[in-house]
């Protein structure tokens, strides 16, 4: 079957592109490896609508985030949770940025940063500055429902779940996507919006795998906690180094707990993600279950690492005042690709790469939801 565009990956970037093109009456096919949309990184992250505070050492990332922040909040207000105070603090030890530097950075980026009393939130001596900021959290599941509802109203858009791609053949004027079940789809445009599987998809296409991204992979854990009454209306993020963040997780009522040093469990520096847990999974469920060339969903995995809750909770409690309590509810895991070029300045650029001019193959890699608009000029 022939399509105007084939989109691989039903995360936010994939579905946004599907909706954008579907509205232009293009015939769209979305191929999703999992049995559901938004099953990986779009859902498994801190759910921050980034205003840029996170990047005090990369003004370019910060200003870009701030620019898209408003647009995202205006476009998807129904999934945005605003009813909490988002506090950013700078650790008095081990931070790469101090309170003064953070303030002047916010000023340069033109984002809100009001001084807040440190002792209200943190134990004595732990932080040298605390700031009330403007940043929200989005609810991935509400956002997913919105996209799926919109797409199901479009007869020209098809989403195919449990779609395992075997091979993508490249012809002079089109691609042929061969599926595990034997189906074949053709199109002269493929959007590769698979985040951690970007290189995996490119490897399936003849002659483009060398255009893949230079990334390292981190297997990350997001902990969901139940916050005490006092903590409920507050989000705390301690910067800028091996610290933590505890903030509302969309509209779920949970707080997500993450930390720079404990959220990533393992790292892989290979072209494709290679982890020791893959062997354990294969021993359990067969060779096809999970391998570097066919990364499975980490949250669903029986071989996912043991939770880092003891570490993360201790780190958070070392900083937070006693009255802000939280209890463990569960863990979500996902694979996070990080561009190797952005390790020093901790920037998170949205990388969009045209791997093939014609037939057209475009890959997108972005760690933030609100830069999804960058995609439009490539569609």
């Amino acid at each position: 079957m022939n399509y105007t565009k084939i989109i691989i990956g039903a995360g936010l970037y994939g579905l946004y592109a599907a909706k954008h093109c579907g509205e232009k009456k293009e015939k769209i096919l979305v191929l999703e490896k999992d049995d559901r949309a938004f099953g990986r990184a779009t859902y498994v992250n801190q759910a921050r609508v980034h205003m840029g505070y996170h990047y005090p050492r990369s003004l370019s990332t910060a200003t870009k985030s701030a620019g898209y922040f408003r647009r995202f909040c205006d476009d998807f207000p129904f999934c945005i949770e605003k009813g909490f105070h988002q506090i950013y603090a700078t650790s008095s030890r081990f931070s790469w940025t101090n309170a003064e530097q953070f303030q002047s950075f916010c000023k340069a980026a033109g984002i809100r940063c009001e001084e807040a009393p440190v002792s209200l939130y943190f134990k004595e001596g732990m932080c040298d500055g605390a700031f009330l900021t403007e940043e929200y959290t989005y609810d991935a599941m509400i956002l997913k429902k919105y996209f799926l509802d919109a797409l199901s109203a479009m007869p020209n858009v098809t989403i195919c779940y449990n779609a395992k791609i075997e091979d993508i053949a490249r012809y002079p004027d089109h691609f042929e996507v061969h599926m595990a079940g034997g189906s074949v789809y053709t199109s002269d445009y493929i959007l590769n919006a698979t985040y951690a599987s970007t290189n995996e998809v490119l490897k399936l296409v003849d002659g483009v795998s060398h255009t893949g991204f230079n990334i390292k992979y981190e297997l990350c854990e997001i902990i969901l906690t139940k916050a005490s009454e006092k903590l409920r209306g507050i989000g705390l993020t301690v910067m800028d180094g091996p610290f933590f963040s505890i903030m509302p997780f969309g509209k779920t009522g949970y707080h997500s707990l993450t930390s720079v040093s404990f959220t990533p469990h393992m790292a892989s520096y290979e072209r494709l993600p290679a982890f020791p847990c893959m062997e354990r999974r294969q021993a359990l469920e067969g060779e096809e279950s999970c391998r570097p060339e066919q990364l499975a969903n980490c949250t669903d995995c029986p071989c996912r690492p043991e939770s880092a809750w003891p570490y993360m909770s201790h780190l958070a409690r070392k900083y937070m005042r006693e009255e802000y309590e939280f209890t463990y509810q569960g863990s979500l895991y996902s694979m996070k690709p990080i561009l190797k070029s952005s390790e020093v300045d901790d920037s998170r650029p949205t990388a969009i790469r045209v791997n093939s001019e014609y037939p057209r193959l475009v890959s997108v890699l972005s760690g933030k939801i609100n830069t999804v608009y960058d995609l439009e000029e490539f569609l």
Partner: protein, 320 residues
């Protein structure tokens, strides 16, 4: 009984100082991982590498290549340049997140490994700081230092040579609120106002201990700094010197008065010159004592800044 049931549901951190200690690393690591795993549910290890020039760090990576571990368990702080044990260990303690923090100033083991449990159990009796001390093979200068220090610090907690210690989180918080600058940890720990104790032990092998300690840098500067910072020894010394000169000036004055009365003036003008000089010097010395006092007060108000520089923190990833 199953060992696992015996474990405490506590999370502890162990901070290790590393400066060209490659020779002791293997032994230490197998000891500490065994002991902590037997005692606690979860623990973390933080190595502070103070500009080692040997292959100690490689040995640590090597060890964990062959050991089952949590992915978050081991951190290595790389100090930017050599900054000494005190600054390095302050950095390590600041990174630690445990309910209890073990501090190992040395990696050589000259104590029975049950001492780790003993030290920890002492904290359960209500002590926030418990140290393992050993007086064997102590140098004469060290003995002098501790004796002068303890006699003049004017505080309850007496310090001595310590191999390792454990601090409760409460003690760590208290220390943090005392001040930013901790030039000499022991002195602060023992006098943070919480209950502190030292368990003395005898070295299993005194010669080995001497040998291991011999490689350590002489810490004369730290000793002098500590005496100035924590004791009033220097103040006393300067007061004594000033007083001595005051007395000499006074004696001179008496001598002048005597000569004046006896009218045995040797040279004309001698009396008035000497009278003026002894009076002025007396004033100068009294003034000096006052200035010394001011200086010591100012000294205590200073040093608010970060006192160490780190190059980065590494995590070791599990291979198994």
């Amino acid at each position: 009984m199953d060992l696992a049931q015996n474990r405490e549901h506590k999370f502890v951190s162990a901070v290790m100082y590393l400066h060209n200690d490659a020779a002791y690393i293997d032994m230490f690591l197998s000891m500490i991982t065994q002991e902590l795993a037997a005692l606690f549910d979860k623990y973390e290890l933080i190595f502070v590498n103070d500009a080692s020039s040997d292959d100690g760090i490689a040995k640590i990576y090597d060890f964990f290549e062959h050991t089952k571990m949590d992915s978050q368990m081991v951190s290595i702080i790389q100090m930017s340049n050599y900054q000494g044990q005190e600054a390095a260990m302050n950095a390590g303690r600041d990174l630690a997140i445990g309910d209890f923090v073990f501090e190992f100033d040395n990696l050589f083991i000259d104590y029975p490994k049950t001492l780790i449990r003993k030290i920890y159990e002492r904290t359960l009796e209500g002590y926030d700081v418990v140290a393992a001390g050993c007086r064997d093979g102590m140098r004469f200068t060290s003995r002098m230092f501790y004796s002068v220090f303890n006699r003049n610090s004017g505080s309850e907690g007496k310090i001595g040579p310590e191999t390792f210690r454990v601090l409760s989180r409460r003690a760590v918080n208290r220390i943090k609120s005392i001040g930013d600058y901790i030039p000499y940890r022991k002195a602060i720990y023992m006098n943070c106002g919480l209950r502190a104790d030292v368990i003395e032990y005898h070295a299993i092998d005194i010669d080995a201990r001497r040998k291991a300690l011999k490689g350590r840098h002489e810490r004369t500067h730290l000793a002098l700094d500590s005496l100035i910072y924590f004791t009033d020894v220097m103040e006393k010394v300067s007061t004594v010197i000033s007083a001595l000169f005051v007395v000499i000036s006074l004696l001179m004055g008496i001598e002048i008065i005597r000569e004046f009365c006896m009218k045995t003036q040797a040279v004309s003008g001698w009396l008035s010159t000497m009278g003026f000089m002894s009076l002025s010097f007396m004033g100068v010395f009294i003034l000096l004592s006052i200035i010394m006092k001011y200086l010591s007060v100012i000294l205590k108000l200073m040093y608010q800044k970060q006192r160490y520089l780190i190059a980065g923190v590494e995590k070791i990833a599990p291979k198994q």
